[in-house]
């Protein structure tokens, strides 16, 4: 038995268990996401994939909401877009510099029209702190937005359990082996963390120079 749903006025049939995000994407639609990676269990933490549901009191996170029969989904719901944009704006306000152009965060900011321009909520920002002790992997702590994708990639995709979030509030940051660095941790250098990172907080050392030239070209 399939479920009949409607997305932005388009009818669709989906299997039970399909999430709203999966349904939207399968129809080629767009919902911005930050903490979502299809290789991991949906986490529902970032509140960027908000969509409107007819009859619901407030927008819901598309990644963790299962489709129901007869559900009518509005990806352009004004409240949902406002929440998502404000969330991303807050995230950006903590970074000392804009995220590199090619990153997912930059793309989401562009899609929500909160890239560049004045920030409404200036405040404390992360301090620059780099760790390049590993031959391939670089940590750029100031770009970390604590989405947890790297930690989940390490746990759920590789199973190395090398990464953890440490600290609280603005100081929350991802560390390898409780800050001993990748090499001294249980890291197996698979790079799944760099692959999933939406901001380049974890990236490949060999790409740092190329990314810099990309920023200069802007």
């Amino acid at each position: 038995m399939t479920l009949s749903i409607e997305i932005d006025g388009m009818q669709a049939e989906v299997e039970p268990g399909t999430t709203v995000l999966e349904a939207v994407r399968s129809l080629g639609g767009y919902v911005p996401t930050l903490c979502f990676d299809e290789r991991q269990e949906a986490f529902g933490a970032c509140r960027v994939c908000m969509v409107g549901i007819e009859g619901a009191r407030r927008p819901v996170a598309a990644c963790t909401t299962a489709c129901r029969d007869g559900m009518r989904i509005d990806t352009r719901d004004a409240t949902a877009r406002r929440i998502a944009a404000a969330t991303v704006e807050l995230v950006l306000s903590e970074l000392p510099q804009p995220p590199p152009e090619h990153t997912e965060l930059a793309a989401v900011a562009r899609a929500l029209d909160v890239d560049g321009g004045e920030l409404r909520w200036p405040g404390e920002q992360h301090e620059r702190a780099h760790d390049e002790r590993h031959p391939y992997l670089a940590l750029q702590h100031e770009l970390c937005i604590s989405c947890g994708r790297c930690v989940r990639a390490c746990d759920e995709v590789q199973g190395a359990f090398a990464l953890t979030a440490t600290g609280r509030g603005l100081a929350t940051n991802v560390t390898a082996g409780l800050d001993a660095g990748f090499r001294e941790s249980t890291c197996v250098s698979c790079g799944a963390c760099a692959d999933t990172c939406p901001t380049d907080a974890i990236t490949e050392i060999s790409l740092l120079a190329l990314t810099e030239s990309e920023s200069h070209a802007l």
Binding site: P135, Y136, V157, V188, S189, G191, D195, E204, L207, L210
Partner: protein, 693 residues
């Protein structure tokens, strides 16, 4: 944009067959990531596939042909000069001593198209069946045994069986290091409830995530497999219906199993009765269960027989031909499946079609316009013997460093030295090129197009991310050019043309074409209409009568056993960071992560032999002696030591003798009797007190 060229290709490290997105800038690969839709890797890859690509532009890459000068050194030469020399020498030797005085080796790292062209070069341009590939020294026992027991030389299912299975046995493999992406998938499955049984003289990482770990001494796998089958029979867990309808040979097997009670198995292997029984029940009682194995099963004197015993267990329990119930050999190199599929073997053309089958041979003769013998050629070890005997005069070795990776290194070097003419086609100078008369600069997987076939029988596209460096050429280009220069024009313009010929001449590949392979790959057999086969043997086995053959094969002791002079057993294998001879990974920052090999030794043995952590030790066998650092670990069983073979400066394979699998000549790399002792620079002349009680 950070990148100026992006391709989706297939990884050239290991048989998992990860699909990769490779990104290049200014003619260099700068980053590689996993393809999200990769059927084997599901958007993941390991540190080899992702990071170990800098070797492709390393300064010491071969960039021009080299010719051995009269003074014994290699000098740069033009392609014209090198090819002219190859043609004149091979023609001279063929005329003087006949085509069988020449032999070729294809490479399990090369593409299907390269391997096909190489075997056609040897068979049609030279006129000999003396062609083999390095799967001889790794999974040839698997190939042979699967054909004997079930019919086809390949995994019966695919890696999705990992998640579909309720239970799995891993024997003689260390997936989290040797096949990291499959290792990660198995580990996740185990964390999500897959009941895992591990069998190995090393306590592999996955044993920590399993239910039972059995640690039989190296060389006694057969006893364990027979013991598991005994328990399945004794406790009424045989799938009688499956055995009756789909197999033959049950009565003989049933008789034999009487001799392998848990008590018998414990006498041979030391494996505790309760553990053996538990393992048998986990496998047999699970609704869906699969078996994985690696070279820890095959590289033994009776490795091929153990693979048949593995087939027995699956057949007895009816665990074949459906999702989650599969036999999944973890193939070593990226194209070890394909190099054999392509007929780079002395006794078979493509798709394991026998060279002795007259109908088959006529088909190939008609296609190639030549006539061929109906007797097969020499296997790799026989080639070396023939070279030393003076019967084999020339070899053409493509993408293989036999002087580092083959067993009994001293013998191999003597063979290479006895040749009148040796051509090496490779990407770096290596131990083998030291004996070459001509060295041809070839291309890595990042620099050419074609296909690889992974451990799931999945044929996947390889696409060039960058050009070969300097004057280096693609292997397809080199081999077809040399064939034409020898008077046999193959008529191929691109590797896709090669695949079309393979499809024409190979029933199991009838529907394969580059276009059809697309992003998802095709798992052979592929029917003419393009339908592929993710699962084999759903209805019948590919043997006369459609029945699988059970094999009543008893346990026999290994070819090598511990003795007074050599009291320890050396087992060799892979490390996560490196790949095979290390030619590629040692030229990347993976070397920084793992700068050398080391010897793993159990604390009890270390204590007894006065060996300290980090100390240099000598390892001596009947064939040779090496020195390396010791690391003390409880992960290895007492009485055993373990090391890898990635470093030419350590040269582990000097220790391996000539004992080999009885059916396939695969060397017994996994059981080498050795003497281990500390290397002291000077005598201390100070008495010491032993710490062992």
């Amino acid at each position: 944009m950070r990148f100026d060229h992006n391709v989706t290709t297939t990884c050239g490290y290991c048989g998992v067959g990860c699909r990769l997105e490779a990104h290049a800038a200014d003619g260099r690969v700068v980053s590689i990531g996993p393809a999200l839709d990769g059927p084997a890797n599901h958007g993941h890859t390991c540190l080899k596939g992702r990071f170990a690509h800098q070797f492709s532009r390393k300064r010491d890459r071969l960039r021009t042909p080299l010719i051995r000068d009269d003074d014994g050194s290699l000098r740069a030469a033009s392609w014209e000069e090198a090819i002219a020399l190859i043609v004149s020498e091979l023609s001279r030797i063929r005329d003087a001593d006949g085509p069988d005085a020449i032999a070729g080796l294809a490479s399990s790292r090369a593409t299907n198209e390269d391997c096909y062209v190489m075997q056609r070069l040897m068979r049609a341009a030279i006129g000999t069946h003396n062609i083999d590939n390095c799967s001889r020294v790794c999974h040839s026992p698997t190939s042979w045994a699967l054909r004997q027991s079930l019919g086809l030389s390949g995994a019966t299912g695919n890696f999705d069986d990992i998640e579909a299975a309720d239970a799995a046995i891993i024997i003689g493999a260390n997936p989290t290091e040797g096949h990291p992406v499959v290792g990660a998938r198995i580990k996740q499955a185990a964390l999500n409830g897959l009941q895992l049984v591990t069998i190995d003289p090393r306590r592999i990482e996955l044993a920590d995530y399993g239910v039972v770990h059995l640690s039989p001494p190296a060389g006694t796998n057969a006893a364990v497999m027979l013991g598991l089958a005994h328990v399945v029979l004794r406790d009424g867990l045989v799938d009688r219906d499956f055995v009756e309808r789909r197999t033959e040979g049950w009565a003989e097997l049933e008789d034999l199993l009487a001799d392998y009670s848990p008590a018998d198995v414990r006498r041979i292997t030391g494996v505790a009765t309760a553990d053996l029984e538990r393992a048998a029940h986990i496998y047999a009682e699970a609704p869906k269960a699969s078996i994985f194995w690696g070279l820890g099963v095959t590289e033994h004197r009776y490795g091929s027989e153990v693979v048949r015993l593995i087939c027995n267990l699956a057949l007895m329990c009816g665990k074949l031909g459906r999702p989650g119930s599969a036999l999944l050999p973890l193939r070593g190199q990226n194209n070890v499946q394909g190099s054999s599929d392509m007929g780079a073997l002395p006794d078979t053309f493509t798709g394991y079609q026998s060279v002795s089958d007259d109908d088959v041979a006529r088909r190939f003769e008609a296609a190639w316009g030549v006539s061929m013998k109906r007797e097969g050629g020499l296997k790799i070890p026989e080639m070396f013997d023939a070279a030393i005997a003076g019967e084999l005069k020339a070899m053409y070795i493509f993408g293989e460093d036999v002087a580092q990776t083959d067993p009994n290194t001293t013998h191999v070097i003597a063979a290479l030295k006895s040749l009148e003419f040796l051509v090496c086609q490779d990407i770096f100078e290596n131990e083998t090129t030291q004996y070459a008369d001509v060295v041809l600069p070839a291309s890595s997987f990042l620099e050419k197009g074609g296909t690889f076939t992974n451990a799931e029988r999945r044929i996947q596209l390889v696409e060039a991310a960058i050009d070969p460096p300097g004057e280096a050429r693609t292997d397809f280009d080199i081999l077809t050019t040399i064939s034409s220069a020898l008077g046999h024009d193959m008529g191929f313009v691109t590797p896709a043309d090669v695949m079309d010929e393979v499809a024409e001449l190979t029933p199991d590949w009838a529907g394969v074409s580059h276009e059809r392979i697309g992003r998802g790959g095709l798992q052979w057999p592929v029917a003419a209409d393009g339908t592929d086969s993710p699962i084999l043997y759903e209805e019948h086995f590919e043997l006369p009568g459609g029945r699988a053959r059970l094999a009543a094969l008893p346990y026999k002791p290994p070819g090598n056993e511990a003795s007074t002079e050599f009291p320890m057993i050396l087992v060799t294998g892979r490390r996560l960071e490196h790949y095979n001879a290390g030619t590629m990974t040692r030229r990347t920052a993976n070397l920084d992560l793992a700068p050398s090999d080391w010897l793993e030794i159990h604390p009890e043995d270390a204590d007894r032999l006065w060996i300290e952590e980090g100390e240099l030790v000598s390892v001596r066998s009947a064939s040779g002696r090496i020195e390396l650092e010791a690391r003390v670990t409880e992960r290895i069983e007492p009485g055993h030591v373990f090391t890898a073979f990635h470093f030419p400066e350590i040269r582990t394979n000097l220790l391996v003798g000539s004992s080999a699998d009885v059916n396939t000549s695969c060397p017994e790399y996994k059981v080498v009797a050795v003497d281990v002792r500390p290397v002291t620079e000077e005598s201390s002349l100070t008495p010491a007190i032993a710490s062992a009680p």
